[in-house]
């Protein structure tokens, strides 16, 4: 097995006449922390959705752990170890916090869905105390942590974190970052999609930049952020 866990080749997506994404090549190595940035509408979420299987058809291909992802439904990708969070937290509103986590534990096909493992999962995001609450009783940051807990319950090889920091306070961002670092130390590859630049630069080992559906830069954060094109894309908005 090569150490490239994910390889995107010439990925593109059109909606009617509008090209949202085009010709994206991307490789992610196992254990890497990749930041994916770009202005609004640059195609980051489209890329995530293509990767997670939410759009059944797109151009190009993904290879995950040396096997093609084409034709796999989102839940099959999730079971293979490809987890994601949603930009806006989408808890199962009718289930308790603990039951929310039990869903991926039961269906992820990795490990037992015992109460202990659910509680362990919640403890890792500091939600154990609220295991029996309903999602509507949680604060915004707690919902994001629940979102992360649900993704990590799949014990993924690759985790895509879609704007988990938006609107959070400084300390809250730090909490989430700490959590992600811990996960990464445990061996999970993480792609962070983020607007909060402090978080991305602090977290990422490598940055990829999307602008208008194309990848315009890919490399170490300091180098990428220094590129005039990137600066223009961000400041010229």
């Amino acid at each position: 097995m090569s150490d490239v866990v994910l390889r995107a080749h010439a990925v593109g997506k059109r909606f009617g006449g509008f090209t949202a994404l085009s010709g994206i090549d991307l490789e992610v190595r196992a254990g890497e922390r990749l930041g994916l940035i770009g202005p609004n509408g640059s195609g980051k979420s489209t890329f995530t959705n293509c990767l997670a299987g939410a759009f059944p058809s797109h151009d190009g291909s993904f290879t995950f752990k040396d096997a093609p992802l084409a034709g796999l439904k989102p839940h099959q990708r999730a079971r293979q170890g490809l987890a994601r969070t949603f930009q806006l937290p989408r808890p199962f509103r009718g289930l308790t916090v603990a039951e929310n986590v039990r869903v991926p534990l039961s269906f992820g096909g990795r490990g037992a869905a015992t109460m202990e493992s659910a509680m362990a999962c919640l403890e890792s995001v500091d939600l154990a105390g609220k295991a029996h609450r309903m999602p509507k009783e949680l604060t915004q940051v707690e919902l994001r942590r629940l979102e992360l807990a649900r993704a990590t319950a799949l014990q993924p090889e690759l985790l895509i974190v879609d704007e988990a920091m938006a609107g959070l306070s400084h300390t809250e961002v730090d909490q989430i970052l700490a959590l992600l670092f811990r996960l990464n130390e445990g061996g999970t590859t993480i792609i962070m999609i983020e607007h909060v630049m402090r978080a991305v630069t602090e977290f990422s080992q490598r940055l990829a930049v999307l602008v208008a559906g194309r990848k315009i830069a890919d490399g170490p954060p300091a180098d990428v952020l220094a590129l005039p094109a990137v600066e223009e894309a961000y400041l010229g908005r």
């Binding site: 839940h75 987890a83 199962f92 289930l95 603990a98 039961s106």
Partner: protein, 327 residues
């Protein structure tokens, strides 16, 4: 299916529910008491009224598996119900089989119909699914109307056998006992699903299908399982109908009141738990039966509508929800 109904984990929530053994003991005791009480009354009418109510318990419980647990509103309950009834007619006529084998075959027909509906329509969400099931009902009724073997629009007669099986005092009593067993089985199935992995997956996809997929839930497969089980059970609810009335014709078998009741009963009782449809069905159908023989006018149809509207407005979690603050 095999991986669908795996016994559940112990619930994290304060476990106020009974264990499996306790549940079964209680169910059997309730059934036995009911049968003895009815027999004690010695009235054929008591049997009929009980059968009427229990038939709705099966129907409402079945509807709730798809509607309540998975959140897919089926407006075509009458179609499945009638499919069961007409299975009894067709199979009874073709092979001369009695009620019990007919119920089994009705379950298969209903299950297949549910699966077919699922495959055709489950990519549709919300209102689209509801309307598609309504159309299905129209299509199926057209089919039955044009199928002369089961009587077409003329309707069909099913004569009750002269001899009463298993030492029951009358065929009405036998029918009542059969439907009682069906109701108990329906509730048991619903309860098992609710506490199983299948129930958890359905609850997840009810709240958010995309998020459920992302959490590894095979939503399409679970929905197909749910439509099949729900369809099979609704057909089972309808299977004894021809014996109840001895005559069946499409207009009343596909009657809107079955569709309305199948929706109203779980919503009134509460859709989150097996007890909801049970409570709703017992309450609403006995109310209707009582109204039929007391105030006896069009006004008693009004009961369903008014009770439904009032409940969905004022108590969206049903009667169960009034007592349980959570979920």
């Amino acid at each position: 299916m095999s991986d669908a109904i795996i016994p559940a984990l112990p619930r994290p929530a304060p476990p106020r529910r009974l264990g499996h053994a306790g549940f079964w003991l209680a169910a059997a005791a309730a059934a036995a008491i009911l049968i003895l009480a009815l027999r004690g009354m010695g009235s054929e009418y008591a049997y009929f009224a009980a059968t009427f109510v229990l038939q709705y318990v099966v129907l409402a419980t079945a509807w709730n598996i798809l509607g309540g647990y998975a959140g897919y509103v089926n407006f075509g309950a009458a179609a499945f119900f009638a499919a069961g009834a007409y299975t009894t007619v067709a199979v009874g006529k073709a092979f001369g089989l009695g009620l019990l084998p007919c119920i089994g075959i009705a379950a298969m027909v209903g299950g297949a119909l549910g699966l077919g509906t699922g495959i055709l329509t489950l990519r549709l969400r919300g209102a689209y699914f509801a309307i598609a099931t309504l159309c299905l009902s129209v299509v199926l009724q057209t089919f039955i109307v044009n199928w002369s073997y089961v009587g077409g629009s003329r309707g069909a007669y099913i004569l009750r056998p002269r001899d009463v099986p298993f030492g029951f005092d009358s065929y009405g009593g036998y029918l009542c006992a059969v439907v009682l067993v069906l109701a108990a089985a329906a509730i048991a199935i619903a309860r098992s699903i609710e506490v199983s992995r299948l129930g958890l997956g359905l609850a997840a996809l009810r709240d958010d299908e995309a998020a459920a997929e992302a959490a590894g839930v095979p939503t399409l497969r679970l929905k197909l399982i749910a439509t099949s089980i729900s369809g099979a059970m609704m057909a089972v609810a309808g299977a004894p109908l021809p014996y109840l009335g001895s005559y069946i014709e499409p207009t009343s078998a596909f009657g809107l009141s079955y569709a309305v009741n199948a929706i109203a009963m779980p919503l009134i009782g509460g859709t989150a738990s097996w007890a909801g449809p049970l409570i709703g069905a017992v309450l609403l159908s006995s109310l209707q039966q009582a109204a039929t023989v007391t105030i006896s006018s069009a006004a008693n149809l009004l009961i369903v509508g008014v009770v439904l509207v009032v409940f969905v407005c004022v108590a969206p979690r049903g009667i169960i929800g009034l007592f349980r603050r959570r979920r």
